[in-house]
Symmetry: C2
Subunit: 127 residues, 2 copies
């Protein structure tokens, strides 16, 4: 007979020995975070907004579309650095772009972003 243990970390998943109800707690909490793929996707959005320069880009774009060159001027960085960051934001579909001749105009591609940032702003101001 074979016994299988599903533990991704060999070290085992410890459950405290105190309090007999613990195991129920843990199982319930595990279910809440069972959708690992979704969590990774959500974390990806937060990670992108978690860099000050990228956040500045997003904040600037929330007001109106801007070309790469102007964005660099706005956040006081280089065109190259901004372009690198825009690629990440593009891949996550947080921004979209529109080409006009040699210019590329970027804008926000998500209706919720302003909301997310504003709520977080409230948090920061309160603490």
């Amino acid at each position: 007979m074979l016994l299988y243990f599903s533990m991704s970390k060999i070290k085992s998943a410890p459950v405290c020995k105190i309090e007999i109800v613990d195991e129920g707690k843990v199982k319930k909490a595990r279910k809440l975070i069972s959708n690992s793929d979704e969590i990774i996707d959500i974390a990806e959005i937060f990670k992108l907004l978690g860099d000050p320069n990228r956040l500045k880009i997003v904040l600037a774009l929330l007001h109106r579309e801007l070309c790469v060159c102007d964005l660099a001027a706005v956040i006081d960085s280089t065109v190259s650095a901004v372009s690198h960051q825009l690629r990440l934001l593009r891949n996550a579909r947080l921004v979209k772009y529109r080409k006009d001749g040699k210019m590329v105009y970027y804008s926000i591609d998500d209706e919720h972003i302003a909301q997310i940032i504003n709520i977080t702003k409230v948090h920061v101001k309160e603490s």
Copy 2:
């Protein structure tokens, strides 16, 4: 006579030569992101939520308080790793803790976090 140029990057802050209105655009956008300290604080929150394991910790704690050991079991990590992450979340006042004997129970210390995460979840599901 001395001339001062306020450019933190020596490379200059380029403004595209096309479109004469650009300078106005840039100045307006600059004002929107002028509160650099606040932006850094907001980015800090996002950065913390931007790690899948830390986000799992927060999601688990949103449901109910948990001790470090159980948290480790829930997110399938080690006690040490969880403790390190909790320190970061503590420093940013995203979580608080309560001591009971040798146990330390952590819980969410911010009313907005659930809101922020839920809105982001909507974004992810829509794309």
